[in-house]
């Protein structure tokens, strides 16, 4: 293990560690543009130059590996002066159009200028003009004027997405990033180049001109787009409803997790946030022939409780792998443990989709594994017979979480089943065909509006935090069920999601020993189980 001194402080690092990484660990902040821990070293920005004893020239700390006995300095007069000049070089042809640049506020040119630059301009020459703001693919705009040619995006397309759309053409200060002729940047991970672009050269079409970044707040979350469970940040703003048509969630950004998604996320997940603000169910509704009434929670819950009780077990419950572990646990407690409902089925609202060998999984639900570990299973035959039972009038009511049965199953079968039922309850965050025909429609919170956990396909339990308050009257599913259980006279008691998790950690092997707050960064260990593992609930597991 090489031991070296950085700015007078000794540090021991693993062999092969770059100076820039060791310096960061040691509390010395070395600025950089082209370096990215997830990409190969390009060493072209020259911002991370440091002094290494016994070497006459300054060395780039992103390339040089730590050697035993090295003495490194990162903040001498010479280095600070050189940094200033490197910044000056980078700005010679930079258009300085910060007022109209989306990157402003999270721009590394701005940040480093405020920290290391602070000089007066002495550029008297005309700036070179390059191509501004043009589309290079479905998601990304390129502004060559603003580009500092760090080549991060090129390396991303070569090394991570392996799609090779980008290159640097021309030479000298005429160099520019360009997509190769006949290509466009349309790989499944294209949005990441915007994240890694340190300046405003690559901007996200979805985000352009929607909101200045300093109005954004950020909350750690988990992408619900597929069973990978990429760690993300939900970036949102609630204080300026006159921006972005009042949308609260403005964009999603990947959050580093070495074991799950490293620095990346796919476009499908990145742009999957619109449902938080669009087409939402905000009110509690009761549907009668030719009449829809808006109810308050108490009325709705007591009416539904009455119907459930009078059905005397003749109900069906369809749950979704989009629900959190906490929701699923309370569903089990209320419907299986207390009400002894036999027709409790897991139904995926999403068809299987594209999968690759990097991040994207074909299971487009975030919590199939969690549902499985909590004792829910997919069973197509059981689902068919449940519908048949509905149609034959063997069931009185159906409670559906989230999914649009019309798009998941054969629409005419669903229609017949619904017609034969006395009542149906739809608990969902967004409108769909089912919410247009269910007897009761209860608004549920989205995953951005509650906290909870998803278990990804590997069995890793990961917590998502609450970014927003539930929209309108909506509530987290588990809260709706807690209220319902009270009305049913068999109350379950939970004040917050953490309590539910704690209970699961004590009772379910898949969660044993996990701590709700500890799985918020980085997720839990991976635990895989073949079958449902809740001994005390297993006796209810015969479905029809």
């Amino acid at each position: 293990m090489p031991k070296l001194t950085i700015d007078g402080k000794e540090i021991e690092v693993a062999p092969g560690t770059r100076i820039i990484e060791a310096a960061k660990k040691n509390g010395s902040d070395v600025p950089y543009y082209c370096y990215h821990p997830g990409l190969s070293v390009a060493g072209n920005c020259r911002m991370c130059l440091v002094e290494v004893e016994k070497m006459p020239k300054l060395q780039i700390s992103c390339h040089m590996t730590c050697q035993d006995g090295m003495v490194v300095k990162t903040n001498t007069e010479k280095i600070l002066k050189t940094r200033q000049h490197i910044l000056e070089f980078l700005l010679v042809n930079h258009p300085l159009d910060c007022p109209v640049c989306d990157q402003a506020g999270e721009c590394w040119l701005q940040d480093y200028y405020m920290k290391h630059g602070l000089y007066d301009s002495r550029v008297n020459e005309d700036k070179l003009k390059k191509k501004k703001a043009y589309s290079i693919g479905p998601t990304v705009m390129l502004d060559q004027d603003r580009c500092i040619l760090c080549s991060r995006c090129v390396r991303f397309a070569d090394e991570i997405s392996k799609t090779h759309e980008l290159g640097i053409i021309n030479r000298g200060d005429h160099s520019q990033i360009e997509v190769f002729p006949g290509m466009e940047l349309n790989n499944p991970y294209s949005g990441n180049v915007v994240d890694i672009c340190p300046v405003g050269a690559l901007t996200d079409k979805d985000f352009r001109f929607k909101k200045r970044v300093w109005y954004l707040r950020s909350t750690d979350s988990i992408c619900s787009g597929c069973s990978r469970g990429c760690n993300i940040q939900i970036q949102y703003s609630t204080e300026r409803p006159h921006h972005a048509n009042g949308e609260r969630v403005i964009r999603l950004k990947p959050r580093y997790n070495e074991l799950v998604n490293q620095w990346w996320m796919c476009d499908e997940g990145r742009y999957s946030y619109k449902f938080h603000d669009h087409n939402r169910i905000e009110a509690i509704l009761r549907r009668e022939p030719h009449k829809v009434t808006e109810l308050d929670w108490e009325t709705a819950i007591s009416e539904i409780a009455g119907k459930i009780q009078s059905a005397a077990g003749k109900i069906g419950v369809l749950v979704s792998p989009q629900l959190s572990n906490e929701d699923l646990w309370v569903i089990r407690r209320v419907f299986q443990e207390n009400l002894k409902v036999k027709n409790l089925l897991l139904v995926s609202p999403n068809a299987e989709g594209f999968q690759d060998d990097f991040l994207i999984r074909s299971d487009k639900n975030p919590n199939s594994k969690g549902a499985e570990q909590l004792g829910f299973t997919y069973d197509a035959t059981a689902l068919q017979s449940l519908l048949e039972n509905c149609r034959q009038g063997k069931l009185e009511g159906l409670i559906v979480f989230g999914q649009d049965l019309f798009s998941v199953l054969e629409a005419n079968l669903v229609e017949k089943a619904l017609k034969a039922l006395r009542w149906s309850v739809m608990i969902s965050s967004n409108h769909n065909l089912l919410s247009e025909s269910a007897t009761y429609v209860l608004p549920a919170a989205t995953y951005a509006e509650e906290e909870g956990t998803f278990t990804n396909f590997e069995g890793r339990v990961q917590k998502f935090e609450r970014a927003l308050y539930p929209l309108g009257a909506s509530l987290p599913e588990w809260k709706i069920l807690v209220n319902l259980s009270k009305a049913l006279g068999q109350p379950v008691h939970y004040e917050e999601a953490g309590e539910i998790f704690k209970e699961m950690a004590g009772k379910v092997k898949a969660f044993e020993g996990f701590d709700f707050d500890a799985v918020s960064t980085g997720g839990s260990d991976v635990r895989t189980f073949a079958a449902p593992t809740i001994p005390e609930l297993e006796k209810y597991d015969n479905i029809l």
Binding site: G43, C45, L58, V92, N124, R171, G172, H174
Partner: protein, 430 residues
């Protein structure tokens, strides 16, 4: 004075294989298999003090001894024939007149380094020279000097001839390797050095055309004899490309360490129209300029370095008293701005910026503070980049204004050249 390589430089003539053999050619390559083992040959070249004559002057034998032979990967030999340094045209003469001398040198180097595949990277603009080399290669294959079991010995050697596409940066050895691999000529980060990780990730020996062309004579006549031809630690002779305001420009083969004054006045015939000498660039465009009172210097790697300039590629460019140094620096910097690969920020932006400032000065719109700005930019361009192009640009950029400060100031104040009032019109506007 004895000529080695340049005795082949007969105007209008190429020494094709039969004539080359008749003059004793390929005997050295043939004999090397008996005379030396690989290590012995490397030691012999070390003893000869043969330096890398492409410009860096790194001892050739030393370079070879750094190549690891036990990696399990093939070792490649790459000949740097890109010859892009302005003021340099010696390799062109070797390609044109003595292609087999280079091939023989390559065989010797291949034997010393256990190389079985070698590449010649030839400057793209050298079209005729490329054809000459191609024909010479065909001849050598036909004679059995190349291919399987050369000279009937248990040693294979394939040589591939590859044309560059015109970028100066592809003469930088790692830029050349990238280009040879089919990529854009971006110099690589070092370490690892090409000796260890070079062409296609394998250990690679890269030598200049001229360096290799001297090997035949070292094998023929011994390292001691060769070392004695030059000065201390600078063995042998060297091809000086002399251009500019001299009576007899051309390639002169002279001992390393010869005084610059002798080259200009004794060999190149003195200054055109017997005008006064103003300045000399001693080692290609990237060498710092020398004033007329600095030409006593001995032309080898160490003496020139001591003078703050460099022997470089031995491209001697002579400027007489009618030369406007401001215009000279302007066209010089236009070259670097045009040829910077664009990888490192200081070089990419610095060379372009400097060129624009000089453009403004020669157009008569200079400001007196531009001079200090130029020198300041220069000091942060050099030494901060992946390759030496920025250092090469910084050498003239610092030395011209420092050594001719008064002329630069006069030009800026008056908006025109004090030397050639028409300099402004001579500058093409790019």
């Amino acid at each position: 004075m004895e000529k080695l390589i340049s005795k082949y430089f007969v105007p209008g003539k190429t020494f094709w294989v039969d004539e080359y053999i008749a003059g004793g050619g390929y005997e050295a390559a043939r004999s090397v298999f008996e005379k030396f083992d690989a290590k012995g040959l490397i030691d012999e070249v070390k003893k000869s003090n043969l330096r890398g004559l492409g410009g860096a002057g790194f001892p050739a034998g030393m370079k070879w001894s750094l190549v690891p032979q036990t990696t399990g990967k093939p070792v490649y030999l790459v000949v740097n024939g890109d010859e892009g340094e302005p003021g340099t045209f010696k390799d062109k003469y070797i390609f044109r007149h003595a292609p087999h001398l280079l091939l023989e040198g390559m065989m010797i180097a291949a034997y010393a380094n256990n190389v079985h595949k070698a590449y010649i990277y030839i400057r793209g603009e050298y079209v005729d020279e490329y054809r000459t080399m191609a024909r010479a290669l065909d001849e050598a294959y036909a004679k059995g000097f190349l291919g399987k079991k050369i000279f009937g010995k248990d040693f294979d050697l394939e040589i591939v001839l590859h044309r560059g596409a015109g970028a100066y940066i592809c003469g930088e050895e790692t830029g050349l390797l990238e280009s040879l691999e089919g990529k854009k000529g971006f110099p690589r980060l070092k370490p690892p050095f090409p000796a260890v990780v070079g062409l296609f990730g394998c250990p690679t020996v890269i030598n200049n055309v001229e360096t290799l062309s001297y090997l035949r004579f070292i094998v023929e006549r011994g390292a001691d004899w060769f070392a004695k031809l030059g000065s201390e630690k600078n063995g042998g002779l060297r091809l000086f490309s002399v251009s500019g305001h001299v009576k007899k420009p051309g390639v002169y083969e002279l001992p390393l360490g010869i005084p610059l004054k002798e080259i200009i006045y004794d060999h190149a015939g003195g200054i055109r129209n017997d005008r006064k000498l103003k300045a000399v660039v001693p080692g290609g465009l990237s060498a710092a300029i020398l004033r007329s009172d600095e030409i006593e210097v001995g032309m080898d790697f160490d003496q020139l370095r001591a003078k703050g300039t460099m022997a470089g590629s031995a491209g001697v460019m002579v400027f007489d008293e009618t030369t406007c140094m401001v215009s000279a620096l302007h066209v010089t910097m236009r070259f670097y701005a045009h040829e910077s690969c664009g990888q490192c920020s200081p070089c990419r932006e610095g060379t372009g910026w400097v060129h624009k400032i000089l453009q403004r000065i020669v157009e008569g719109r200079g400001r007196i503070e531009d001079l200090n700005n130029l020198l300041d930019i220069c000091s942060f361009m050099g030494g901060t980049t992946i390759c030496a192009l920025a250092d090469g640009a910084a050498m003239p950029l610092r030395s011209y204004p420092e050594k001719f400060r008064a002329e630069f100031e006069d030009f800026i104040r008056s908006g025109k050249s004090i030397v050639t009032p028409k300099a402004k019109e001579l500058v093409s506007h790019h």
